[in-house]
Amino acid sequence: MTAVLAVLATLADAADAAVAADAAVATEDRGFQWALVLACWVAVLAAVALVAVRSAQRGRRLARQIPEEQRRWM
């Protein structure tokens, strides 16, 4: 256990430098984060749009086969 504590003491000594390094990495990562965020939104909205458009096309094709009076409720 003492060995562990000794190791931890050394760890603590190195703290400041590492925090500075971490902050630098974090700011560099922003571009990557934005890319993922945009990819996420684009993927979701594109998928929904695709489903909506295909659904509308199918609806139009089906509606043509049905006489007007049967779908007056729409």
Partner: protein
């Protein structure tokens, strides 16, 4: 087996349509709800364990042996390099501190103060936990970032 048609008992209502379905449906719903409720009571707090907390992992060290499992705790202090792609750091949970030796890459959000889940096993001597996968278990709290603190070097 005798499958010749026999007259239905008169008290049995017709099987078709909405009549006679009511009691059975109610039974189904009650069964579903009861089962879900039982599940809730049974499982709350007990857990099918995705991970052990650091203190549990220490308490069960001999029982776990060289089994692979996941361990959870808050990353404290800073990591030091002990080999080419191996780092050593400590996690804390429930008053117990566990030293992790991790080989491999770390996720982007791996920073002091975050809760992490490490996957691996106790080393043969039981002193350190040898991990080869770190997952950051971030909290469910969201705070607006303070621009002054995050980017102190900005002009």
């Amino acid at each position: 087996m005798d499958v010749t048609p026999r007259p239905a008992p008169p008290e049995v209502p017709a099987r078709r349509g909405s009549g006679g379905r009511g009691p059975l449906m109610a039974l189904a719903l009650v069964a579903l709800l009861a089962a879900v409720g039982f599940l809730l009571v049974k499982q709350v707090g007990s857990a099918s364990l995705y991970f052990y907390n650091a203190d549990e992992a220490v308490a069960k060290r001999s029982q776990l042996g060289d089994r692979r499992f996941r361990i959870q705790g808050t990353y404290e202090g800073t990591a030091t390099d002990v080999a080419a792609d191996t780092i050593r750091f400590a996690i804390v949970f429930g008053g117990e501190k566990v030293v992790i030796e991790h080989t491999g890459s770390e996720p982007a959000l791996f920073q002091p103060g975050t809760a992490v889940v490490c996957e691996g096993r106790w080393s043969p001597d039981g002193r350190v936990f040898e991990s080869d996968r770190i997952e950051v278990k971030h909290s469910e709290e969201y705070k607006a970032e303070n621009p002054d603190r995050v980017d102190p070097a900005a002009p």
